[in-house]
Assembly symmetry: C2
Homo-oligomer: 143 residues x 2
DNA sequence: CTACAACCTCCAGCGACTAGAGGTTCAAGA
DNA sequence: TCTTGAACCTCTAGTCGCTGGAGGTTGTAG
């Protein structure tokens, strides 16, 4: 549980070794103590913190949002509204992305339906791309 | 229509000037002729090609896929099945991303519903992140 | 004591742009 | 014809969140 090498921590939390070093570099994880030979040694606290980070990344939170969430956990008496707001903001961005991707899906399906499988010259797919006015919907860039 | 400067082309097609130079650099656009002072001059063919690229990017196609689609337009007698396959592959990836984002949306909504708006100590959002076993679903990384 | 797996640091690369520095050219108005 | 200044040029570096490799060092099991 304590005094884990970086490889052991990596296996426990399912985060790759270079990623752990990267998180330390950008200040998401504290610099752990080292052995005499300068190898990192981690404790239970690091396991929790890295798990938190991993779960948040799995949920698609950006590193900056995770940084804010982590700083909230250090203030357990403060109200949790800031956490609420971070999650809501993320939810809204997920919903925007879903909406955009659904528009995209519709367009791509139409393109495939319209294709008559002849030569490229007659291909609706290519024509739609070449002349965008033929398509059915407007849509913004997908992030 | 012909002999456009890069800025005029940019306005016509709604692609930023540095992006046009970038497309030239990676070989999506051919190197255009230059004035004596080494400024780029574009013709109608470039307008079409860049429009094609922009529409395909708007639909979320990767640059490599666009490269393949462009090379197909140069072979108008060949069958359009390769184009078909590229679009299908892209559609499938869009569908996978939608499915993942929908799982995410569900989880984020649950987190917000569970939050009782007390202090951080009692915040379900923070607890779920700290102890992932409490959450309802498994999900992979979002790309 | 010897192997050798695992560790270390530093740097480069991914994708698709975007921005800035520092210098040159074009074209319109005086 | 000259001047001004917007638009152009090249080159480099930064974005995000890692990931991989080179080349060298350390920890530990046998």
């Amino acid at each position: 549980m304590t005094n884990l090498s970086i490889g052991e921590l990596s296996r426990q939390v399912a985060v790759k070794v270079p990623t752990i070093r990267y998180y330390e570099q950008i200040g998401l994880l504290p610099s752990p103590p080292r052995t005499e030979g300068r190898q990192r040694r981690y404790g239970a606290e690091d396991v929790s913190r890295l798990s938190f980070i991993r779960h948040a990344r799995d949920l698609g939170f950006e590193v900056e949002a995770i940084r804010e969430l982590l700083s909230l956990t250090a203030q357990p008496d403060q109200p949790c509204e800031p956490a609420d707001r971070i999650v809501l903001r993320h939810l809204e961005s997920v919903e925007r992305r879903i909406a955009q991707l659904e528009l995209l899906r519709t367009e791509l399906r139409h393109m495939l339906e319209d294709c008559r499988h002849g030569p490229v010259r007659e291909c609706r797919i290519i024509q739609v791309l070449a002349d965008h006015d033929e398509c059915r919907h407007e849509h913004g860039r997908v992030s």
